[in-house]
Symmetry: C2
């Protein structure tokens, strides 16, 4: 039996929940959970915001632990190995996306916490191909959030071949944005944090931003016209996107990793005249996660975390709901 | 004196207009106009739709002719050479865009028909660097529209490295779209024309489309879910863009070369979940125009044109305004 924490219905507190995972499949591994990050999308799934949740739901998709068992056909991973598991716990491996190394875009992928029990538990299972080895020497307590929040902001740098000579800005200095600043600084870019919070200004500079821009300051925004090659938006509120488009260079890109329910209402002339692009992306593939981990280790990039014992999971969820978490929360077993 | 046709005020008919161009600048050439295409943006400038027009305005930015004079510092172009001139009659050659071969994105470029007299005339002048040689053996009567409409739909194939294995669709089979179908067919792509007009269906297939899709047919649109790598929109009316996003593959691109005044109201989840992109672009650089001309010649790609004598320019403009032109109009001197 696996001992987990589950919500039995939308918005319910989590409660202890045991389940029998059955025999380990040939292509699976079972992970002894040591740490598991909490992500905003855990709240979305607990609350059934997307209408996709299957109850009882065991959240947790920023897992760090040691392999406890491997399936009979698993190669390349061994019992005792330190690994992580993110948003996806399996892929189809037969579609064009999987064949192209874009498993994260596989339409038949298995989310770790939808129709599958996640990492708020003593153990979690996943297809071996969705599990990524953690390089020796990484700090394990803070590594979990890299597997969802971290890869979400790292992935665009790989997908769009962002160059160290680029000028990049980040909108929203929170759970995602504070990792984006660190990655971009280490990537060699000139990094600007858009923030309207005086308190976050200094932190943004410490995390790797070279500049901050107050997004409520019309003059400052105007002065930044045509400055950025890339802007990564991590926020989930509607902003005046056309203002931000104006701060992009010709051929610049406004990229969304945070989603708003409101449509983007973009001015098409601003796209056409300067050949600008607007795009979005979800988490990354296993290969990109591995690449991120090596890069994070080399540059000592770490999510800033608050750690709770796993049996205080409801306190931890309340803290995340309060919006005051600084910046990610990790459960420790 | 140069003998031209000009509008003296917004929406006025064109009338004969002579002007003294002064001495030829060191970096300019003067072109004897043989043909000049008429583009929708000529109407926009005559009517001052963009608030940028300087009257009297001599329209015409799809010029084909022979070089009559070259400035003292011009090299690489010679008197008697057959050349074309498009939307831009000059660039700054000092900005990052010019230095990167993206002269078409130069913020200080000189439009041919704004603050400069265009090609509805016996002669037109331009910076030599904005003039592109036409390969021997091309049909000159139909070549003019390549210099604005043609390059507008060809440029994205180069900018975004569209591959011959790609599935591409075109929205709007008109002055721009009918050239897009020809270019894409010759590029090796599988080509689909979105059209709701029965009459245009057969023509689209003749122009190079392998398939047509009735954009009013909900079932057909649903069946095309996830099909296209690229959709090029050439229309200037608001459509249900999120429906079209749904027909893109993961990593697919919805690209605008036609502009609407309405914002795009895009669903950001449709971008994020499948890593899709929305973008726009204007005309191309001189290097891309040259590349297009060689490609058009090799594949016998020609705009379908109706030809009017230049002294019937007002009849030709009325024909274009009627929306019945099939597909581009060219003035002949």
């Amino acid at each position: 039996m696996i001992k987990a924490y589950a919500a039995k219905q939308a918005k319910a507190p989590l409660e202890p929940f045991e389940y029998d995972p059955g025999p380990l499949a040939d292509d699976q591994v079972e992970i002894d959970v040591h740490y598991c990050g909490i992500c905003h999308s855990d709240l979305s799934v607990i609350d059934d915001e997307w209408g996709l949740t299957q109850y009882p739901v065991v959240p947790g998709h920023e897992v760090v632990g040691k392999i406890a068992q491997v399936g009979s056909r698993v190669t390349g991973l061994a019992v005792g190995q330190v690994v992580g598991l993110g948003w996806h716990a399996g892929y189809c491996h037969t579609c064009a996306q999987c064949h192209s190394g874009d498993e994260n875009l596989c339409a038949d992928s298995q989310p770790t916490i939808i129709g599958h029990h996640g990492g708020f538990a003593d153990k979690v299972r996943a297809q071996a191909s969705a599990v990524v080895a953690i390089p020796d020497g990484m700090d394990l307590e803070s590594a979990g959030p890299l597997f969802c929040g971290g890869i979400t902001v790292f992935n665009p740098l790989v997908q769009f071949a962002i160059e160290p000579t680029d000028q990049v800005a980040v909108i929203g200095i929170g759970g995602l944005g504070h990792m984006a600043l660190q990655f971009l600084h280490a990537w060699g870019c000139e990094v600007t944090a858009f923030t309207s919070s005086e308190a976050k200004r200094d932190e943004a500079l410490q995390l790797g931003a070279h500049h901050t821009l107050d997004s409520r300051d019309d003059g400052a925004i105007e002065a930044a016209a045509g400055r950025f090659d890339l802007i990564i938006s991590t926020v989930n509120v509607k902003l005046d996107w056309n203002r931000y488009l104006g701060t992009l260079k010709p051929k610049g890109r406004l990229h969304f990793v945070g989603a708003t329910l409101d449509p983007l209402d973009l001015n098409v002339f601003a796209l056409i005249m300067q050949q600008r692009t607007v795009s979005g992306s979800p988490v990354g593939s296993p290969a990109t996660i591995a690449r991120m981990l090596e890069f994070a280790k080399r540059h000592d990039i770490k999510p800033v975390v608050e750690t709770y014992p796993m049996d205080k999971v409801n306190d931890a969820l309340d803290r995340l709901r309060s919006g005051k978490a600084h910046y990610r929360i990790v459960l420790q077993r």
